[in-house]
């Protein structure tokens, strides 16, 4: 089965500084891949590389098609929805406008409306706050909004950058619970970056561990969860 996303020898950097030094990883169709690692390991940069937000070298293939070197908006139009670190909410716009922007590139009106309903099913609070300015939402609600915006693109691949960041544990649980539902119901492939390793390992199929821009451990999440030595050396628990 061809992978949904394949990275081969991926390098990336900012200006003169190289951050990623040749990564090989994959996200399977309908699968969840987690990228773990400490701060500064290059996890966020990896997602940015997939989205074309930084200069890259090496190869990136989305369902077999090369996307490295393409503009971010073109990659998004090919069905890659990226929920960036910091959520990337349009603060000055309303919740409704944020969501409509998610569906901006779609032409199938009826399906878009159906998707809106589905998203409200996941996150009923957004229906309540529909006309409110996005900047007034709480952190957890903004995360929900960001994920909704991504889903409204009807993506093939969902990139999630630290969805648990800055959120209370209960809220995080709620969000991950919903992400499980999304994964089952939508059939979308997910590339997840998380600092909270145990959360990620519970959720993911495949895991890659990054350290200063290189993959040091990789394997099925279940195996890594069981491997005490890996957990203790790299994940701190």
């Amino acid at each position: 089965m061809a992978a949904l996303l394949e990275a081969e020898g991926l390098t990336a950097g900012y200006g003169q500084t190289a951050v990623l030094h040749g990564l090989d990883f994959a996200v399977e169709e309908r699968g969840v891949t987690a990228l773990l690692g400490a701060n500064g390991a290059g996890k966020t940069t990896t997602l940015r590389a997939v989205s074309g937000m930084v200069r890259t070298g090496g190869a990136l293939r989305l369902a077999g098609e090369r996307i490295d070197g393409r503009a971010t908006e073109e990659i998004a139009r090919r069905g890659v929805a990226h929920v960036p670190d910091g959520r990337g909410t349009f603060m000055e716009l309303t919740v409704e406008e944020n969501m409509r922007l998610g569906a901006y590139t779609r032409r199938d009106r009826a399906e878009v409306e159906a998707d809106f309903e589905r998203v409200f099913g996941y996150f009923p609070r957004l229906r309540q706050r529909f006309r409110q300015q996005a900047g007034t939402l709480s952190g957890g609600e903004q995360q929900m909004l960001a994920i909704s915006r991504a889903l409204l693109l009807r993506p093939r691949l969902l990139l999630l950058d630290e969805p648990s960041f800055g959120l209370a544990p209960l809220v995080v649980q709620e969000i991950f619970g919903i992400m499980r539902r999304i994964r089952e119901e939508q059939g979308v492939g997910i590339l997840l970056v998380e600092q909270n390793a145990s959360l990620a390992l519970d959720f993911a199929d495949q895991t890659y561990l990054l350290e200063t821009g290189r993959i040091v451990v990789s394997g099925p999440a279940a195996d890594i969860r069981r491997d005490e030595s890996v957990r203790r050396s790299y994940l701190g628990y």
């Binding site: 200006g15 937000m53 200069r55 971010t72």
Partner: protein, 345 residues
């Protein structure tokens, strides 16, 4: 937190240039050569061409003024023509109404313009690059109207302006009035250029550039930003104002319509083309400001403006550090080649 595609490019602005490795005799020879070249025109050029060269020197001085506050200190002024106008009118009013000698008006003009620059510098503190550009632009547009106003008409001569008479050359010098004005302009400019050059190489100069390049860091390092910036404005206004005074007496006429926003724009273009944050660049800028429109006017009345604009944009795209930058890079390359040849077998 937000993603960036690439780090935005910053232009290579001149920092204080390092002491060049020139032997003393080489430096002395350069000064001698330079002086000879500067004085030569008196003997070689016709009266009108000498007048033009005099104006070029004055323009260079005016551009130098702008360079100090915009090039070296990063405060964008699109209204320096206003200081030029004030300097010109200060001299004109004192000479025309008060019968003052030209030399006596210079300190007054300098003081008034410095004061005005200081006054402008205060609100300028609150304005970021763009807003300051906007405000000074508005000032430049409004200047002719202010100068024509009835309330001060008795002094300024209103729309008709004021006439001046060039000072006579001293009796012991065998030069005519035009040649004397050239020497005066050259002399005053040389002094101010030298003082500015010293200022830029001093600690104050480095502080000004630090404020331009990284105001947050400069403040964190304890620099008194407010004082430095307002004083930069004062000095800059004074220099351009003195240029205005020189201009007034060389042309022997001031009128409100000669000081429209075109002057401010010319100074800005001269600064960019000559080389932002460059003493030598100011000289190129002055030459450019004076001679290019004259040449362009041969083509059509509109041509100077269009050519100005086109050259400005071309330089911003291709040569952001102006003529001076181009020469600097050429000199560096030549030095490298020479060194390599010197090391050869």
């Amino acid at each position: 937190m937000s993603a960036t595609e690439e780090i935005p490019a910053t232009p290579v602005l001149a920092q204080a240039s390092p002491r060049s490795a020139m032997a003393n005799w080489q430096r002395g020879a350069l000064v001698l050569l330079g002086s000879a070249a500067a004085l030569a025109p008196i003997f070689v050029l016709e009266s009108f061409q000498l007048f033009q060269l005099t104006m070029a020197v004055i323009m260079a001085l005016a551009v130098l003024g702008l360079n100090i506050v915009t090039g070296y200190n990063g405060q964008i002024s699109l209204g320096h023509g206003a200081f030029y106008a004030v300097g010109a009118y200060a001299t004109a009013i004192l000479m025309s109404h008060g019968d003052w000698s030209f030399w006596a008006t210079l300190p007054v003009s300098a003081a008034v313009c410095a004061g005005l620059g200081y006054a402008v510098g205060f609100p300028a503190l609150r304005l970021g690059g763009l807003y300051l550009a906007l405000t000074t632009f508005s000032l430049a547009v409004a200047v002719p109207q202010i100068l024509k106003h009835r309330a001060i008409e008795d002094w300024t001569g209103g729309v008709q302006g004021l006439f001046l008479v060039k000072p006579d050359p001293p009796s012991w010098l065998p030069v005519d009035a035009d040649q004397w004005m050239y020497l005066v302009a050259l002399g005053v400019s040389a002094v101010l250029f030298l003082l500015s050059w010293n200022l830029i190489r001093s600690r104050v100069g480095r502080a000004l550039m630090a404020i331009r390049d990284n105001p947050t860091a400069a403040e964190a390092m304890g620099m008194d930003i407010a004082t430095l910036k307002t004083r930069a404005f004062a000095v800059s206004a004074m220099i351009t104002g003195i240029a205005g005074s020189l201009g007034a007496v060389v042309i022997e006429f001031v009128a409100p319509d000669s000081f429209g926003f075109g002057v401010s724009i010319s100074l800005f273009v001269g600064m960019v083309v000559g080389g932002v944050a460059s003493i030598a660049g100011s000289i190129f800028g002055g030459l450019f400001v004076l001679f290019v429109p004259n040449i362009a006017e041969e083509v059509s009345k509109a041509a100077p403006g269009v050519i100005y604009g086109a050259i400005l944009i071309l330089f911003l795209f291709l040569l952001p550090d102006g003529f001076a930058g181009l020469l600097r890079r050429a000199a560096a390359r030549w030095r490298r080649v020479a060194a390599r040849n010197g090391d050869g077998p």
